[in-house]
Symmetry: D2
Subunit: 355 residues, 4 copies
């Protein structure tokens, strides 16, 4: 039983991914992506997304995001996103570095989801300043969002329509794309290019891989020379089969969705269980695999004392204020079991009853 | 009589600066700064600021700011400033470009002046995220601020103390430094290094030069290899005497302060005059040479119709809200005359009386 | 009489340019290039080059070159040029900085002129390495060259044809373009876009301006968003009229060609005079305004002792070797007079006769 | 039996490395390097190199090199290396990109080993040009070299002494460091910091890992903030244990040297065997695991026709010229067996005997 709810990246790789890596470790093969496994991956992603794609495996989500954004945003451009986006707060300035000085422009939204009206206003304001301001150049949406919520396809399409009107390509940071997809219940195509997404960072690491993400372009013309960017930034593996094998296993047999379903279900159960604690309040809808909840301080302190792992997480500006509670984040993963959830909820309830 | 209050950069150069440029245009001389005029400039700045300095003339304020910031902030660093700072909104991402991808982190403040407490909180939040967040690396303060206000020396010193505690060098964007200095009535030394400033963008273009600014390091050790940055970014002039001559004339005989005094006085008169219009409200203290005022819409429309030049300027979040008024910015310069001010105020009053 | 032959950038501005700057210093006007003088400059350049152009004034040649190259070369690209090109040896890495890490790839050629065959071979070799090598992305030709020679229009066209076959835009570093044009005796159009040049750094500083160059795009579609690059790198002047006025005066009334003719003629005379010194050998054809000559060491030492200014300049690999001589560079400018040339040649002859 | 001699990166991971990856795949653990395996790796490298070290695992050699160089070279700096260095020809401009526009300056040397005298001359020439030229900033030596040769410790020390005299930190590209070490027969310490190396790219991928290299700083003060660079460039893995586990297995029990010994021995046998073919000539000393040999064209064509894999590789400028032969590169790996070598040599001999 685990008490570690700090992140979904503390997990090992799942068995099927590990098996695929072992299976790929046979014989000499062409390097830098000219191998059969990588070719199968390309075909598999195209099939799953029901369109022609250009797929570029890399090892980290930061690399996937920053490379994708550098491809669509010039040095003098601005990238619109949520103010709590991973590209703003958790990538040490990677998009600016990869895109030669581009600016990341965060917009506020209490539930993690920016709106079409917000975007329109921000672009209009920037354009009014002409050459002095960075050029509105790209839109990056995180799905599932940093606040554990999920954009509906309609919400995505409205945002993408604004972007398209101003000629901004749209990137999706899908570090938890499978979690979002599982929540939406739609097809991968509907959740992406059919809703206006041009390029996707498709995450696997948090949901069962060792280290594997893919940059997926739905418009291959947008991918021109992307190979050079990957190479120049040190993200082209010589033994690329080992990345491709992880992704192929991840996408095969519905593994990605099965893993996401387990994580989402456990987060949901965690949210329900904690919401029932006296004085608790859920801060966000638990759409995917993250729970943001305010708990009475003694409960938080008590759980920490018992060795449960999670982060204290400043709440967004919400109404009403959370009062005396302490807001925390808990993350469920494909490995989280019902017993893990029950263990934490029971401990919280017991502490609360004693306070 | 001018009706142009759009900016202080619409002016020509003042007579003394122009005369100095003409005087410098004599004979062959060593290029790239190895000339006598540039040497005199170095000595003059040191004398005025009462300390050893390293002075680097450049032609634009964006160059001065971005070069100075690149010198003190690494690619993985963050630069704290006001959210309306010129480096955020008006330099097309120059600091990020010059500093190889560094992030500019704007903090809100209704009067344009961020506080020591705000800065401390922001650095603390960043540091709590460790390597994932950009490293707090530099502080940039605009003096006079983008809202026409001026930091007191005590305010500067408090901010600089926070910066120093966290090992952040402090930059001052002094595009309107003379205006601030004139308002403060203190010495150049007190307004800068004695208040904790490490490097100053000393502006002259807006206050009487053709095109001349200087990057002034008060700690010469901070300036190591700065010459290479200037050269690599195309900002080292072969005929540098023509930049140095402007700056020397600007600083000689108190010209910079005399010009600033005129601009400030005219802005003050403008502010007083407009504040007396029924329905008007000054949005900021008129410390330097900019006036931010909300006027009844018919007055604004009427002035525009009469050919007066100024920008409609969204007000900061102030209390109470400005209601039905339209907020605008007016800028006075060294060339603005009493008659110019009277002309605009009289026109506004007349329009208001008819409405 | 001057003894300074170190460079054409030690000169002051010529009278007509200075007069134009003074004339521009009248009244308030729109900033950032929205003024009448800048508009006239655009029209004048289009007229002179007999085609639609996009013209961007900047203050330095390094800025002009690096901005132009960043516009046509991506970070993962390579820029082919001569190994002694200014962009290789004298701009402190500016092209790499502006173009986000692009590589400058110098090719050898004893007379400063690379050949079409060389370029074809270099591109072929790079392409054979695929994604691992930088992508052949741009060609930069210096005209007049760093060795004082001038490409014929046919030579330019052959190089440009290779570049076009591989989809490389062609840049011309025309720091001494007027000198080359005067030598060629052809039209500005023939010397540039009719010979395959896409973008020109048009120099004026070395030939009579204070500080003024222009980036000229002959294919306006290549100039998309170039304004943002200029702004982001700090090279957009608020009082742009002062740059435009210099360039307009420079191009008006044939001033640029008259100045170049004087400089070229004086260099020619210098070359002839020095070649007659016993033991002297001209190292390059004196096409423009630079003389590269090997002189007996006592002559070089003697001239230095008499206060003549020039640089000792390592000769290119030439056949036959220059033996015991010392190779030097002498530069004539628009200000160089016959008496200056005669003075140096006479001094050299006298020293030689005593040795 | 393999016929693939194209590169040592076509191999799978060796059994011990793969076993370690599988063993690491247990349970939840702290992410981003705060795990026990990474801690053990740090200790192990320090022990092997007999000094305090800072070790940063990354997945590719390009990342290791470019990150290390960005740490020691500013944007306005130049990095000296051999003209055929991987960082010049095979990393798509990565050092320039990571170091914000820094220049890579290749020096020629027929055997892949630049000399102290060459380096001294190049630095002197650059310094003579002052601020106009890029600043000599770093030295990068490849060990084993791109031509399959190995610098002796004395040669390294002489080069490092020149670098130190000019304050240039010294980087070693050790993509094939184990092969060099095995050839030298000295200690890891002697081959690196005792010979003046400041930072090492320690390769494992080519010699038995899936994808694992380490940047090793021998002077921890040089590593300040290196973690941020790794993060900002997307090279910090969340599940870092999977990189560390590979490296730990690679270094444990002498596996790295055993693998290298096998590769070197097979290359040596290949060299000997091919040198005996009539008309063949070895182009370089076979110090490590690469063979550069000129063979009669019919032999090369015949081997290609039989499906042997290797690259045609232009010879360096050697004396005497290779005449009618075709120069090729063959690479042996830890997996190459005696039978593989014998197979190729026998085939070559047979083809030669028929020609």
């Amino acid at each position: 039983m685990t008490r570690n709810f700090t992140s979904d990246n503390v997990t090992p790789a799942c068995a099927a991914v590990m098996a695929a890596v072992n299976a790929a470790n046979e014989g000499s093969t062409a390097s830098y992506g000219a191998d059969a496994i990588t070719a199968r991956l390309q075909a598999r992603v195209a099939e799953l997304f029901e369109t022609a794609v250009s797929v570029y495996p890399v090892a980290t989500g930061t690399a996937a995001n920053a490379l994708a954004l550098a491809q669509i945003c010039p040095p003098y451009g601005g990238i619109y996103c949520h103010e709590a986006a991973h590209i703003v707060t958790d990538e040490c300035g990677a998009p600016g570095f990869f895109a030669g000085g581009a600016s990341v422009l965060g917009l506020p939204a209490a539930d993690g989801k920016i709106t079409a009206a917000q975007l329109e206003a921000a672009i209009g304001q920037a354009n009014s300043m002409g050459v002095h301001h960075v050029k509105p150049a790209a839109l990056s949406l995180t799905q599932a969002t940093e606040w554990g919520t999920v954009y509906s396809c309609d919400e995505l399409a409205e945002l993408a329509a604004v972007a398209e009107r101003h000629a901004l390509p749209v990137h999706m940071d899908g570090a938890r794309f499978a979690n979002a997809l599982e929540f939406l219940g739609c097809s991968p195509a509907e959740a992406t290019w059919k809703s206006g997404i041009d390029v996707l960072s498709l995450g696997a690491t948090k949901n069962g891989a060792l280290a594997a993400e893919a940059v997926v372009f739905f418009d291959p013309s947008l991918a021109a020379n992307f190979e050079r960017r990957r190479k120049q930034s040190g993200h082209l593996w010589s033994k690329l089969r080992f990345l491709s094998a992880q992704l192929l296993a991840y996408l095969d047999s519905g593994l990605w969705l099965a893993n996401a379903a387990q994580a989402n279900a456990m987060a949901g159960a965690l949210g329900l269980g904690l919401a029932a604690i006296p004085g608790a309040r859920l801060l966000q809808s638990v759409d995917a695999n993250e729970v943001f909840v305010a708990l009475p301080e003694p409960v938080v302190v008590g759980l920490e004392a018992q060795g449960f792992g999670f982060y204290r997480w400043p709440a967004p500006d919400v109404v009403p204020p959370i009062g005396a509670g302490v807001s925390i984040r808990l993350v469920a993963s494909y490995l989280t079991a019902r017993a893990d959830v029950d263990g934490l909820v029971a401990a919280a309830a017991q502490i609360a009853s004693r306070s």
